[in-house]
């Protein structure tokens, strides 16, 4: 097993110095850094096997195709899907959810139907549904948030009804860190015959995902938030549903037969992957998944919950800091906070001068921010390479900033 120091050594960027200080990277909910295993896998791909995939009869193309398919199989295993057929590679979570809004939404929704999301949603799981429900004359409704920042299950029970055709909820809030009870909501959705979608952008990097156990029909996530390259995302979908809905993007590789007048679709998952895919991204994702499972989600969870608890405690000791969202036991490795009288942008800029990278803003969840009566928060988010020393540097720097302003 790797020690945490060995893990840290796998991430070359952590040795970068920022304003003369060691980089303390606490912006993992936005995107994570990449281990050298992943960086090397991308280079090796272009050094040794780059080619267009599918139908190529030459050596490189066979090699690239095999690796690209293998990446699908690897991801299927990673989330306990039935096989490659259920794994569509997209650019990111956003594209995965838009694919559903178009292919499933336009297919299944009728005037008067309901789509249900929550008050927590990232814009990527909100705006597509706003648009598609408006287009078809369906309604968009929201499961409420409790005062302590959790999902209100009573509200869920009230809102999910027999008119509900699609339920799509975030698994872990990127703004508050709250982990939502997807399994329970799935049960409600199934009771009412609705499709169940989870936005796993923030959960897949941090916990073992079992799509069967969660009871979801679809599960979306992004490679770049879990050690993989940018430009590669995933949509898991149950095979029987994917077979019955329209494709989203049309073109090369997703067809079986084309005449000038019409087309027949290729088998899964290719039906949903049009044009030349991001092969190096897919292979990078496979290596990232290997890396995560080699370290193990137990170890990752141990590291992260220690940091989250520690940071929560330390931040709570500062009287001028207000933490948003629920107690640590209901949240992932994300802490959003406000500092009396100082704007998050100023905090982030000043933290940056100490080498600390955090995010400041609405975290692509403007309506939730409004609900919390703020425009923006400062957010620190942790991953497997962060340490208590990182948290200490954050806290010290925050104390200096407060002094500067008072």
């Amino acid at each position: 097993m790797k020690t945490q120091q060995e893990i840290i050594n796998d991430f070359p960027i952590l040795k970068v110095s920022v304003n003369g200080k060691r980089l303390v990277y606490l912006d993992n909910a936005a995107t994570t850094q990449k281990p050298k295993q992943v960086i090397d896998a991308i280079s090796n791909y272009y050094l040794e096997m780059n080619a267009n995939v599918h139908r190529g009869v030459h050596y490189l193309s066979e090699l690239a195709s095999e690796e690209y398919e293998e990446a699908h199989r690897r991801v299927a295993k990673f989330i306990n899907a039935n096989g490659m057929e259920e794994i569509i590679f997209t650019r990111n979570t956003t594209e995965s959810l838009n694919l559903l809004a178009y292919s499933l939404g336009l297919n299944e929704l009728k005037k008067g139907d309901k789509v249900v999301v929550t008050r927590f949603e990232h814009h990527s799981n909100l705006v597509p549904w706003q648009q598609i429900t408006r287009k078809v004359g369906a309604k968009l409704e929201f499961i409420e948030i409790t005062d302590d920042g959790r999902l209100d299950m009573e509200s869920a029970e009230k809102i999910i009804d027999d008119n509900t055709k699609i339920v799509s909820i975030v698994h872990m809030s990127n703004a508050l860190g709250t982990i939502l009870p997807v399994k329970e909501v799935s049960k409600l959705a199934k009771e009412h015959g609705a499709y169940m979608i989870a936005d796993g952008a923030q959960s897949a990097p941090h916990m073992k995902i079992d799509v069967k156990d969660l009871g979801v029909d679809f599960f979306a996530f992004s490679g770049h938030k879990m050690l993989a390259p940018m430009g590669i995302g995933v949509l898991f979908g149950k095979q029987e549903i994917l077979e019955n809905i329209q494709p989203f993007l049309y073109g090369g590789d997703m067809i079986k037969l084309v005449t000038y007048d019409e087309a027949q679709w290729n088998h899964l998952p290719w039906k949903f992957e049009a044009g030349t895919p991001n092969v190096s991204g897919g292979i990078g994702l496979k290596v990232a998944v290997d890396y995560l499972e080699q370290v193990g989600f137990d170890t990752i969870h141990k590291i992260e919950s220690d940091l989250t608890n520690y940071a929560y405690e330390k931040l709570s000791e500062l009287p001028y800091i207000k933490i948003y969202g629920p107690e640590p036991k209901y949240r992932g490795a994300v802490i959003s906070f406000a500092m009396e009288g100082i704007h998050p942008h100023d905090i982030a800029t000043l933290l940056d001068e100490d080498g600390v990278a955090v995010r400041a803003g609405h975290h692509c969840a403007q309506p939730l921010m409004k609900l919390l009566n703020t425009d923006a928060t400062t957010r620190a988010s942790f991953y497997l390479y962060n340490t208590r020393e990182d948290v200490d540097i954050l806290i010290e720097s925050l104390q200096k900033i407060y002094k500067l302003f008072s």
Binding site: D346, T349, L350, G361, H362, Q366, A376, L404, F405
Partner: protein, 131 residues
């Protein structure tokens, strides 16, 4: 501690010299940067030569956006509005005299842009009144 947050900026953020409202201003404009929530409104009274006689702002947001408009209004007392329209980001960078990354430059520019938008609306209205 920080080159970026020179004392002046923090001072002006905490105790701005030009914060407030003006009754019946010649120029009024409000705008916000929805992405970060910075907001600025400006109130300006002109003399007969279209020079700035008196100016105030209201707003909320980060230190840079708020201190910047405060420093701009101080600097432009007596300036002719046609001159104000010519000012650009170089002016702001010189005035603030701190290194600004592209994202934070947007904060710094908000106040000036609101002022300039207000001037344009005012001039348009003057034109229409003359016709």
């Amino acid at each position: 501690m920080s080159s970026l947050y020179r004392e002046l900026i923090i001072d002006r953020y905490k105790a701005p010299l030009f914060k407030g409202k003006l009754d019946s201003p010649d120029i009024f404009f409000h705008d916000a940067n929805p992405l970060c929530g910075d907001e600025v409104s400006v109130y300006v009274k002109l003399d007969e030569n279209k020079n700035i006689k008196e100016a105030k702002f209201e707003g909320s947001g980060c230190a840079i956006s708020q201190a910047s408009i405060d420093l701009v209004l101080e600097d432009l007392q007596g300036a002719n509005i046609s001159e104000v329209l010519k000012l650009d980001k170089d002016y702001i960078m010189e005035l603030l005299n701190i290194p600004l990354t592209p994202v934070r430059l947007k904060c710094a520019l908000l106040g000036l842009k609101v002022l300039q938008a207000g001037i344009l609306v005012y001039m348009k209205k003057q034109e229409n009144d003359q016709e």
